[in-house]
Symmetry: C2
Subunit: 188 residues, 2 copies
């Protein structure tokens, strides 16, 4: 018998992604989002859900583009700060000592110090209530060579992304490999 | 200097959620989705992205409802199987020895053996290409009492959800608590 907890966003796990945009004066800005994920394989799409009250919301609306830079666990404090301060009155790149790189493919900046970045053009805007989903088609993924395995794909262990725990409002690390996915043989 | 990997869904981390639906003959069915996440706080909403080729896609279209049951790492094999076999020709609940519980709130079943379940009514359908996003408003979250902390919220460590690694197509466990989120004082 399960206990009812009410209509709340208690879902695990949520990613911690840093959304890069340009503001009105082409000021590079970042904000952290955990209402975010992959939403289509072909075309490859991810989304971030932002509140209209945020600076980044209006930047995405204006520029029709955003990036996602995936922080490693050693940047948990920077990511947390980027989710609290506003680009309206704070140059978060400068404050955090992070380097803004202008994407050559979309009208948005990304974070050089984070190991994987995803460049997106806005293809869908879905207002849902407090949050609006911005669906971006992935134009390119870029990664530090240090996190790539021999097959050319990034190693999640080397990227070392972290999670947001919606229950206790904490950040959690990833753990260890459990098994391959799509194992068709001999399980049941 | 980052290396370009192309336009691919290489984003970390992705959740592993099990979507519960009723098919044509009210046959309870589950399928595993990692293109899934939280997308709005008010009203509380999550989404799952499914291919039209799946049985579950048509069930959600017909019933306007779905559940998400969050498996623990000890059910990684069951979750993997539920993402491979089709409800068209397989009774996955029976095959996996899992128990289907009929939601009293929405027209969909959930998995009794998984510690947290989320009951959703369909509020938005967003076709994107190979995948269609189904946005569900959360009507209730239910959890086993064994995973609840004193504040009444589930412990991510006790739920022990796991992740999908889009790079190497493997499942990964969660690790450890890193820090509180929304720490306003004294970092920068």
């Amino acid at each position: 018998m399960k206990k009812s907890l009410g209509a709340k966003v208690l879902a695990f796990p949520a990613p911690v992604w840093v959304v890069g945009t340009y503001g009105k004066d082409s000021q590079p800005n970042i904000m952290t989002a955990s209402w975010a994920g992959i939403c289509c394989s072909k075309p490859p799409c991810i989304y971030v859900s932002l509140r209209e009250a945020t600076h980044s919301y209006h930047s995405i609306m204006a520029r029709k583009a955003f990036t996602v830079s995936i922080p490693s666990a050693n940047h948990v404090k920077e990511a947390d700060f980027a989710g609290i301060a506003s680009g309206k009155d704070t140059d978060k790149f400068a404050k955090l000592g992070l380097t803004s790189i202008k994407s050559e493919l979309v009208d948005a900046p990304y974070v050089n110090e984070f190991p994987v970045v995803i460049e997106c053009k806005l293809v869908n805007t879905v207002p849902l209530g407090l949050h609006t989903m911005f669906v971006g088609e992935i134009v390119d993924v870029k990664a530090d060579e240090s996190v790539l395995l021999e097959n050319g794909k990034p190693s999640i262990g080397s990227v070392n992304p972290f999670l947001y725990d919606t229950g206790q409002m904490k950040y959690w690390s990833i753990g260890q490999e459990l098994s391959n996915a799509f194992e068709k043989e001999g399980k049941f």
